[in-house]
């Protein structure tokens, strides 16, 4: 039978998630224990299982409350199958442009082989970039909101194409009524005053790569010549952030994210997140490295330590929040009431059917991480997606079609994990990368806990008014 509830304890708070409705209940320890037995139909079994441990009157009162939740559709909500709102085929609405398959850093964990993706170092021409814009407009059909991420390698190494493509996209917006949201992911080395002004003037959301503490960053992200890159990166990032203060650069709009990667060398990554915050950044992300057979990567043996660190990060996050110095942490941001629809939860990242990467030469891949994995080349900017079978396989590789996901409690939150990671570890996008799953589940518990505490605080504030 599919799991219908998930319960966990986080720092003394007991939480019950109803998987198929998304309801989150903060419960007492008695209910936490009752849920080991209760299935909605067996009150007597619950009473006898906990007889002598809790007063019968209390147990009966709690059972009444549980039945109230069931009547409200917030406990044991019915199983979710693929709804008609999940269209049979996807519409591409988002592309990642490999503006430069070259980089001025040599990060030790790079999934793109120092930017080249196992191919020759090369940059995208304005012509290929413009064709990508036209491809996206055509492929997106009636969808209005489109996204382009200028990625690499290091995209600032090819500003000529970035500028030409942006100008063209803005022109095509006017002609087609489409709306492009533009993002750039950069290591910051070339983020000078001129580039900053241009990116601001053109409403770019920015994802800035920094790994936290200087010694951690420098050890992992050296320049091509081997020297550390922290000092240059952080100086440019600070300048960039300062230039954006007071503008419309919020989380849901044109955001400025500082994102990092942690490896086996910094499993105390809470210190790195706090270091980023101490440097003045308050929209943050920090993710585990994904590497196979590499001393920097993680194995199952590392999981207890990683879980412990997320507990530490959670408490540090709440502490700063309570002190009025809170920050956004990407993986703890979760809108428990207004989250994505079921169709979106099945589409997940959309790789291969709603999202594609455009290699510097115009070849299409399911996402940026697949660039260079030749069997995954699915078309070109000239032809569009020609390997429709692979595209459809990605579309249908959602959580309800993956053996390990269909019964997992986190299936409607994680979207089934990263296809590229599944392919890397198992050669099959339907076999998720287990260590990634375990880290994801821990992060989700922390996120649900954080959001539950914030909601309770708000309820208390409202009742005081």
């Amino acid at each position: 039978m599919k799991a219908r509830i998930h319960k966990f304890e986080q720092n003394g708070t007991y939480i019950l998630l109803d998987i198929n409705s998304g309801a989150v209940h903060v419960i007492d320890k008695m209910i936490y224990e009752m849920m080991d037995t209760f299935d909605g139909t067996n009150d007597e079994a619950v009473l006898s299982a906990l007889e002598g441990k809790y007063p019968q009157a209390d147990l009966k009162e709690a059972l009444e409350e549980l039945h109230e939740l069931m009547a409200a559709g917030e406990l044991f909500a019915p199983d979710i199958n693929v709804p008609p709102t999940f269209k049979q085929t996807g519409l591409v609405k988002s592309i990642c442009l490999m503006i430069a398959q070259d980089c001025n850093l040599r990060c030790k964990y790079c999934f793109g082989d120092g930017g080249s993706y196992g191919q020759e170092r090369a940059i995208m021409t304005p012509e290929v970039g413009k064709k990508a814009v036209d491809y996206l407009i055509k492929a997106s059909g009636p969808r209005k909101h489109l996204e382009m991420d200028f990625f690499g390698g290091e995209p600032l190494m090819n500003m000529k194409t970035v500028k030409a493509v942006t100008e063209y996209a803005r022109q095509r917006e006017k002609e087609t009524g489409k709306k492009f949201k533009l993002t750039m992911t950069t290591n910051g080395i070339l983020l000078n005053d001129e580039n900053i002004k241009w990116l601001n003037d053109n409403d770019f959301a920015l994802v800035l790569s920094l790994d936290g503490r200087k010694e951690v960053h420098d050890a992992m992200r050296p320049l091509a010549g081997g020297q550390g890159s922290y000092d240059r990166a952080i100086a440019n990032f600070k300048k960039c952030l300062a230039s954006r203060k007071g503008g419309d650069y919020d989380y849901r709009g044109v955001y400025t994210y500082l994102r990092g990667t942690y490896t086996k060398n910094n499993m105390d990554f809470t210190k790195d997140v706090l270091s980023m915050n101490d440097e003045g950044f308050d929209i943050l992300s920090m993710e585990p490295v994904v590497l196979k057979d590499n001393p920097l990567g993680f194995t199952e043996e590392d999981l207890p330590r990683i879980r412990e660190e997320y507990d530490r990060l959670t408490e540090a996050y709440m502490k700063r929040h309570r002190e009025g110095k809170g920050f956004f942490f990407f993986h703890f941001n979760m809108d428990l009431s207004n989250g994505p629809c079921v169709a979106k939860r099945l589409s997940g990242c959309g790789a291969g059917h709603e999202y594609v990467a455009v290699a510097e030469n115009g070849d299409l891949y399911p996402c940026h991480q697949f660039v260079g994995r030749e069997k995954y080349k699915i078309g070109t900017v000239d032809t569009g997606i020609t390997d429709k079978e692979t595209s459809q396989y990605f579309r249908e590789s959602h959580v309800l079609n993956k053996e390990k996901c269909s019964d997992c409690w986190s299936r409607f939150f994680c979207s089934g994990g990263c296809h590229a990671n599944a392919d890397l570890f198992h050669g099959d996008i339907r076999k998720p990368y287990e260590v990634g799953c375990e880290i994801q589940k821990k992060r989700l518990e922390c996120a649900i806990y954080v959001q539950a505490l914030l909601a309770l605080e708000k309820m208390d504030d409202d009742s005081d008014k």
């Binding site: 709603e354 994680c414 979207s415 990263c418």
Partner: protein, 45 residues
């Protein structure tokens, strides 16, 4: 309730009929380029 505090008003079941407009952001496109979780997203409607 005495033993339970429900902290959200979930709409997931309702979206079985109403969702799928597709105007929301691609999940791997935002702050993470290595994890594609959807739980952190909001509905754009």
């Amino acid at each position: 309730m005495k033993h339970i505090k429900t902290v959200n008003k979930p709409k997931m079941q309702a979206t079985l009929k109403t969702g799928g407009c597709g105007e929301c952001q691609a999940s791997c496109q935002s702050a993470c380029k290595t994890s594609c979780t959807v739980g952190n997203q909001v509905c754009e409607k």
